[in-house]
């Protein structure tokens, strides 16, 4: 096993010490600094507002030459996020640059929630609804948010 590169140590430390507003990052296993869990608040003025969405993130051996691997664990209704939580986003694919950071990726994903891209969809049925009947799309997305992502009140 190779040692964790300084860049990863620095980035993850910073993320935890100085988090992006609305995005909480944790390292569930101190023995594996490449694996992070994320709690992301849905952006205001989006059907995901009020929801908290869980994600998991893994920094492959090749990081930062390769992008982080990340997926949603909380279901959401979005044309660019499939049922396994996989995310279709250019910075996670061919628009990745080693100059980006985990922080950049998390912000882009949060932004994607508020501004779906139905012209490059992962789920064509959701994309069709998003484009042709946006009000209905927002309604379904809100329902899903309420069902899966609004923390139930603690008893």
């Amino acid at each position: 096993m190779s040692a964790i590169p300084r860049r990863i140590v620095k980035e993850t430390k910073n993320l935890i010490k100085d988090p992006v507003p609305g995005i909480k990052t944790s390292i569930p296993d101190d023995d594996n600094l490449r694996y992070l869990t994320v709690e992301m608040e849905g952006p205001d003025n989006s059907p995901f507002a009020g929801g908290v969405f869980n994600l998991e993130l893994y920094l492959p051996e090749e990081y930062p030459m390769e992008p982080p691997k990340i997926r949603f664990l909380t279901p959401l209704y979005h044309p660019n996020i499939d049922k396994l939580g996989r995310i279709c986003l250019d910075v996670l694919k061919d628009h990745w640059s080693p100059a980006f950071q985990i922080r950049t990726v998390l912000l882009s994903i949060q932004q994607l929630l508020g501004t779906p891209n139905p012209d490059d969809p992962l789920l064509s049925d959701v994309a069709d609804l998003c484009k042709n009947d946006n009000a209905k799309y927002c309604e379904v997305a809100k329902e899903w948010t309420k069902k899966y992502a609004i923390p139930s009140p603690k008893d």
Binding site: I4, Y58, R71, P75
Partner: protein, 136 residues
């Protein structure tokens, strides 16, 4: 610091979706199963053998111990191999080296391709085979 189960399985799924190998195919049994536990696979029978042109179906279960431990694999198509339980279709791990000496880097695809190689090992080559298309 090894790749976690979920991302490992996502990688395998992606390769499978792109049609990883010509000799086998595999994918999630339920495309919406976020735990990615149950998989279906097919193996094209080994060429130059009684298995040539046959297509065998298998079920693969990757529980929480995968890939630290091997998946559970079962033939649903009937096949007569030394490492296949002839009543249930289950792989008998002790008789299948790839799973018996499991390495974390071994993938579902490796398992399927190695099962294909089993079809033409000396111990299996001469075994009589059930009628094509029968199931366990």
């Amino acid at each position: 610091m090894a790749i976690p189960r979920s991302f490992r399985l996502l990688e395998e799924l992606e390769k499978g979706e792109k049609g990883g190998s010509q000799a086998c195919s595999y994918g999630l049994a339920d495309g919406e199963d976020v735990t990615m536990t149950n998989w279906n696979g097919t193996i094209l029978g080994a060429p130059n053998s009684v298995h040539a042109n046959r297509i065998y179906s298998v079920e693969i279960v990757c529980d929480n111990t995968y890939p630290d431990k091997p998946p559970k694999v079962r033939f649903t198509s009937k096949i007569n191999l030394d490492c296949v339980d002839q009543t249930t279709g289950d792989i008998i791990i002790e008789k299948f080296n790839t799973m018996n000496n499991w390495k974390r880097s071994t993938t579902i695809e490796d398992v399927l391709l190695d099962l294909r190689k089993e079809m033409i090992t000396p111990v299996n080559k001469a075994l009589p085979q059930p009628k094509e298309g029968s199931t366990f």
